[in-house]
Subunit: 143 residues, 2 copies
DNA sequence: AGTATATAGTTACCATGGTAACTATATTGT
DNA sequence: ACAATATAGTTACCATGGTAACTATATACT
């Protein structure tokens, strides 16, 4: 993600939005402001994850397995159901997570197509260690 | 960008955030909710731009030139100042925009290092045609 | 003048997002 | 039973984000 460094609200909104949607520029300005703030928040999270050999996606894959009640594993397609990400991207993420010993991946006994994914001791430790910082970043309103 | 399809507020926040920041889970939940909403908005914008042979970055490059007061051109490094994007990414975007006849790019007379970038008739027409839809998407609160 | 530094842009390389098309296996329906 | 369809995951390819290191030019400093 990227964003305008200078907020576009002044010149751009007045110049364009008012022409198309007179009287509604405030709503547009709010949305642009929000986009910018969450872009900054996203970037902070990305940097934080990167410093721990993770990414947004790698983190979320581990999280949805960890937080699954009753079971200590998920099928790949179940992760795909929970995250809004394309199959090839998830497939690659799973491979690199397994390569980094953050996931174990094995074929299911019942369904030979399906992959059973579980956390490893490494990833359990990693999750525990990064969660406080993760919530700390979320707690701070983006500026 | 991607995001959790199911909001994590219920299971995840209670399970984790409350443990680290008791009493502050509402703030965390709000941020996660905001991240999700703006991820959806971002994706709508991306899809809209893609349907017009643009991207967020390509659109913003054209916009900052168009909205520049007094001048009908910008130097590449001026665009870099206005957008929070790395130099190589901007460099590539400029090349493909020029290839698509949406920008003219020529060396500056005074400074042989600098690129002077201007809109073309095509990109002026394109901007005019997509701006109403752009603001329409911004106007609608993401769901 | 001539060296050192700063600035503008590019190249090379990698990570992460997408779609389309593919293989392999399961399920459905006759 | 077996053909048709659906599902699980992969491969191939492309777009877009980043950093590090490079070239070329301009500016600053003896």
């Amino acid at each position: 993600m990227f964003f305008l460094k200078e907020l576009p609200t002044q010149s751009m909104i007045k110049q364009y939005s008012e022409a198309y949607f007179p009287g509604q520029t405030e709503e547009v300005a709010n949305q642009l402001q929000g986009l910018r703030e969450f872009s900054i928040l996203l970037r902070k999270l990305e940097d934080y994850f990167a410093s721990h050999n993770l990414s947004q996606l790698r983190f979320l894959v581990l999280m949805v397995i960890d937080r699954e009640p009753e079971r200590n594993y998920l099928y790949a397609h179940e992760i795909a159901e929970r995250l809004d990400v394309s199959k090839p991207v998830l497939s690659r993420a799973i491979k690199t997570l397994a390569k980094d010993s953050l996931l174990t991946s094995k074929k299911d006994n019942q369904d030979a197509r399906a992959l059973v994914l579980s956390l490893t001791p490494s990833s359990k430790t990693l999750l525990k260690s990064i969660l406080p910082g993760y919530f700390q970043i979320l707690k701070n309103k983006p500026t």
